[in-house]
């Protein structure tokens, strides 16, 4: 069970540029934070399982159909911003984290189930 207290604040929403990622340090982990065009905020693990490097936040953000996604900057696999599922390789995913925006603050919570 997760409680509100499990969310930690990362930065102010304006610090994030639209359709660009930023990397945050969340409990020792590199987490990629994205603000989409419609001001939703998503968080994924920053580690790219294909290239084995910590880079997901540096990918290009866009849409595939209705799915908001980020393309890994290394080999360009697309990951669903909402779930972390790889759209190009069904078996692969990166962790996705709960995100809230409260009073202009971006808060990252536990891993989504």
């Amino acid at each position: 069970m997760t409680k509100t207290a499990d969310f930690i604040s990362i930065c102010r929403l304006e610090q994030l540029e639209r359709e660009r990622g930023a990397t945050a340090l969340v409990a020792g982990h590199a987490v990629a934070i994205f603000r989409t065009y419609d001001d939703q905020v998503f968080a994924l693990g920053n580690y790219d399982p294909f290239s084995k490097s910590s880079v997901i936040a540096r990918g290009i953000v866009g849409t595939r159909g209705d799915i908001p996604f980020v393309a890994s900057p290394v080999y360009k696999q697309a990951f669903d911003l909402r779930t972390g599922a790889c759209l190009d390789d069904a078996g692969v995913s990166v962790p996705a984290y709960e995100v809230r925006v409260e009073d202009g603050l971006v808060l990252v919570g536990p891993r989504k189930r």
Binding site: Y37, Y47, G109
Partner: protein
């Protein structure tokens, strides 16, 4: 034990050269020492392109610059004529007075222009049109000439006339027959052609016979041409130059003198394997007459060369005649003739379309029962040649309304079902079936790929349109409609987007997607649009409002992402020239930031292993020392590589380093569909490997040759000559136009070589646009480049001066001072080397992977 034998080749022309090449490639030199004698003062050159000598110079036409084959067992001796053959002794006599023994002799002596016995033919300023020396002499005479006459209105005569016209001599063409190009076209076609040519300012006299050539001084031995007197015409046509182009005759005298059999109408008789009546002697090219007939085109000659090599290797090759169809552009006019153009087949019917206003004449010759195409003539518009000619050779059934094939804007020709056996490319003998199979099996999706895979369309290129059509058909069949859309967000090709953005003056991705797209873009369209915006407006690529969020990995941080999430840094070193002080700075920066250093292929230095957050600090040091961005990360100009040039080199003829620096500084920062590389060599030795670059500049005695469309990589391409002996001004002008036109019209991630290949008309099209400004775009393209040059700034300097941009370069937005634990190094050969991990690495490993507790 067999010892090595000697193979002597008489004649180093187009076919002789091809023979030697094939002999080397196929291993004939394992058995024979090949000795070639060439009578001309220069090694083999592209005689077909002879006229372009005036534009590009002799060097560019050469097939063997330097005159040496890579295989030392094949040796060429120039300026040496074979004067006699002693078949008994198996020796040839040479013009230098020596003899040479042979085991096998190959005659490749070509043909000579036929000069009819007209009085005055030996006067000064009477020329033929066959060799570079002929053209040089004509050029010299043209300097003081007012008017010139070409005797002969055939293919070569018209080419000579065009050259004379371009040398700014008032030009007349005189033809005995009642029409031009009597061999290829009929009266109506000839008349259409004549109108085209007269429009260009030449005068055509058909159906006239030359009685004599008049001289300026009566009775003086070496008088000069002063005019031409026609039979039954009183006035003399004043002229200072006469060029004979009244046909060619095989050079078979050597063979006649030693008793070899010759054909009735000239030419050395050979069997289908190119053997003459003496089994040790072969004849190939224009001097040969397989089956009693000589061929005045180069393609059959090449085939003969291959067949002869095959025969000498005991192969089964035979020469089975050749397709004498012709398609060419004469003075800008399309002319084609194929198959039974004169309807000589019994019962043949003619179908004619003629538009005197537009200057178009087309004729189809069809079989009596209207089911088969037998031949045809096209003047003024030969676009359907590519489909019509194969219809003749394959004998496929005509469509129900054959007139559709020649009516203007006909329904295209793709719909006509060709059978699989239909030969699409007659140069390389590739059938429709083979092409479709390749498209299908190899999953080819563009024409250059088809060309590469099947070799179709790689010689004359006239079937390119059919290849395109076949591709479309095949893709449609397999449900893969040829979709030009760049991605799901934009139903446009890159070129279309480029134009839409330009016309709409759209300055941001949001504006573009709102006007022409859907969704929020992706990793394909965003960098493409960023590149287009950068090409057109030259703003800062990290500019928040326009392109900041569109950049691909490398552009986004103005550095090259490497395997472990670190970056490499490449400062610009124009032309590869660097001072010791600057070298020391690079060394110090690399040492202080513990970076791995390596010299790149583009003559600069790459520093690896920089963490993203270190980039601004590293660049601060570099910028302070006078460095600027090298754009190694961008789809943009990388480097212009150079050799050391005439400033130091004993062989250099121009200052290649200075030129390379100038070009690199001119085009630095230019965003393009793919990376762009250049090279400048200071002489023909080409030490800078410039022809392996998108644009290569090679110094000549008179200026610079410009080559375009080269690249290394997985599919290497040699750059091809765009223009020769250019002044620096012209070089810049043409290069500006070329690059800008490429930037405008190429597809995303399309290198210049594939771009040129897929243009309708290929390199010739590029020449028309760039050199002859056929689209009237020249000035606009030059202005665009001028704007680029004027607005260039160093984007790294601008980045470190802007706190907002620098703010992006942090490891963690909430812990800017903490380095990412996923990055670490070991050491190898005295430098750092990245380590990768199979799992994410966390700081404070007591916290389990997953969520914060």
């Amino acid at each position: 034990m067999s010892t090595r034998k000697t193979l002597v080749v008489a004649g180093h022309g187009m076919v002789g050269h091809r023979f030697v090449q094939a002999a080397i490639e196929r291993g004939l030199t394992e058995r024979y020492d090949v000795i070639v004698y060439g009578e001309e003062p220069r090694e083999a050159y592209d005689r077909v392109a002879l006229t372009s000598y005036y534009e590009v110079g002799a060097d560019a036409l050469s097939f063997l610059p330097g005159g040496k084959y890579e295989d030392p067992r094949a040796v060429v001796t120039l300026n040496t004529e074979v004067t006699a053959i002693d078949r008994e002794a198996k020796t040839v006599a040479l013009s230098d007075g020596t003899t040479q023994a042979y085991d096998v002799l190959v005659l490749a002596t070509g043909a000579a222009p036929f000069v009819p016995p007209v009085p005055g033919k030996d006067l000064k300023n009477v020329f033929v049109y066959r060799t570079i020396e002929d053209l040089q002499a004509i050029e010299e005479a043209a300097k003081t000439a007012k008017a010139g006459v070409v005797i002969g209105g055939g293919l070569l005569g018209l080419e000579a006339a065009n050259a004379l016209h371009k040398l700014e001599v008032e030009t007349h063409v005189v033809e005995l027959a009642p029409r031009l190009m009597a061999v290829q076209v009929d009266d109506a076609g000839g008349a259409t052609l004549k109108r085209h040519i007269e429009k260009l300012g030449l005068t055509v006299h058909t159906g006239v016979m030359t009685e004599f050539i008049d001289a300026d001084k009566d009775g003086v031995e070496d008088g000069k041409v002063s005019g031409l007197k026609f039979k039954d015409v009183d006035e003399v046509l004043p002229a200072d130059i006469v060029i004979f182009s009244a046909g060619i005759r095989p050079r078979d005298q050597l063979a006649r003198d030693c008793g070899l059999e010759v054909a009735e109408r000239g030419g050395i008789l050979v069997s289908p394997n190119m053997q003459t009546s003496d089994e040790s002697i072969y004849a190939i090219g224009e001097c040969a007459a397989p089956g009693g007939r000589m061929y005045g085109l180069v393609a059959p000659g090449y085939t003969m060369a291959e067949v002869a090599v095959d025969a000498l290797l005991e192969g089964p090759g035979e020469f089975l005649g050749a397709d004498m169809s012709t398609k060419l552009k004469l003075m800008g006019v399309d002319v084609a003739s194929f198959g039974d153009a004169f309807a000589t087949t019994e019962g043949a019917l003619e179908l004619v379309y003629s538009d005197a206003v537009a200057g178009v004449y087309k004729k189809l010759v069809i079989s009596e029962d209207c089911t088969k195409l037998l031949g045809g003539i096209l003047v003024g518009d030969a676009s359907s040649y590519g489909i019509l000619r194969p219809m003749v050779s394959s004998g496929i059934a005509l469509p129900e309304n054959p007139e559709d094939l020649i009516l203007p804007a006909s329904r295209g020709t793709a719909q006509i079902g060709m059978p699989d056996e239909a030969q699409v490319c007659s140069c390389m003998n590739v059938t429709k079936g083979e092409i479709c199979k390749a498209i299908h099996d190899e999953e080819l999706t563009d024409v250059p790929a088809i060309k590469q895979c099947t070799k179709a369309g790689t010689v004359c290129g006239s079937c390119t349109n059919i290849l395109k059509n076949l591709l479309t058909e095949e893709m449609e069949k397999s449900g893969k409609a040829v979709d030009k859309s760049i991605c799901e967000h934009f139903a446009y090709s890159r070129q279309e987007l480029f134009d839409l953005i330009k016309i709409g003056q759209l300055k941001s991705f949001d504006a573009v997607v709102e006007a022409h797209g859907t969704g929020r873009g992706c990793d394909i369209c965003k960098p493409a649009i960023a590149s287009i915006l950068a090409s057109q407006f030259n703003g800062h690529v990290l500019d928040n409002k326009t392109t900041g969020a569109l950049q691909d990995t490398n552009d986004a941080y103005l550095a090259n992402l490497q395997i472990n999430g670190t970056y490499s840094v490449v400062p610009r070193i124009p032309g590869g020239e660097i001072t010791p002080e600057k070298l020391i700075v690079i060394g110090e920066v690399a040492r202080d930031f513990n970076l791995y250093t390596k010299i790149t292929g583009g003559q600069r230095i790459d520093m690896f292993g920089a963490r993203m957050e270190q980039l601004p600090e590293i660049w601060k040091r570099l910028v302070d020392a006078g460095f600027e961005s090298g754009h190694a990360y961008g789809k943009s100009l990388r480097t212009v590589k150079s050799c050391v040039g005439s400033e130091w080199c004993r062989y250099g003829v121009q200052e290649s380093v200075a030129m390379a620096i100038e070009l690199e500084l001119r085009y630095r920062g230019l965003r393009s569909p793919h990376k762009l590389k250049g090279g400048v060599s200071g002489c023909a030795r080409e030490c800078a490997e410039a022809r392996g670059k998108d644009f290569g500049v090679i110094a000549t005695e008179k200026g610079w040759n410009l080559y375009v469309g080269g690249n290394g990589g997985a599919v290497p391409a040699h750059a091809q000559l765009l223009a020769g002996d250019l002044s620096k001004e012209d070089l810049l002008k043409y290069l500006d136009r070329f690059l800008m036109y490429y930037v405008r019209t190429a597809d995303r991630l399309q290198r210049t070589s594939t771009w040129i290949d897929q243009l309708d008309g290929g390199l010739d099209r590029v020449k028309e646009i760039v050199l002859h400004d056929s689209l009237g775009l020249g000035e606009e393209l030059e202005n665009e480049m001028a704007r680029h040059v004027d607005t260039y700034f160093d984007e790294w300097k601008a980045t470190i001066e802007d706190p907002e941009k620098v703010a992006r370069f942090v490891s963690f937005i909430n812990a800017p001072g903490t380095p990412d634990p996923n990055i670490s190094f070991t050491e190898d050969r005295g430098q750092i080397r990245p380590v990768t991990f199979d799992e994410p690495v966390s700081l404070g490993s007591s916290i389990p992977v997953g969520a914060p507790q």
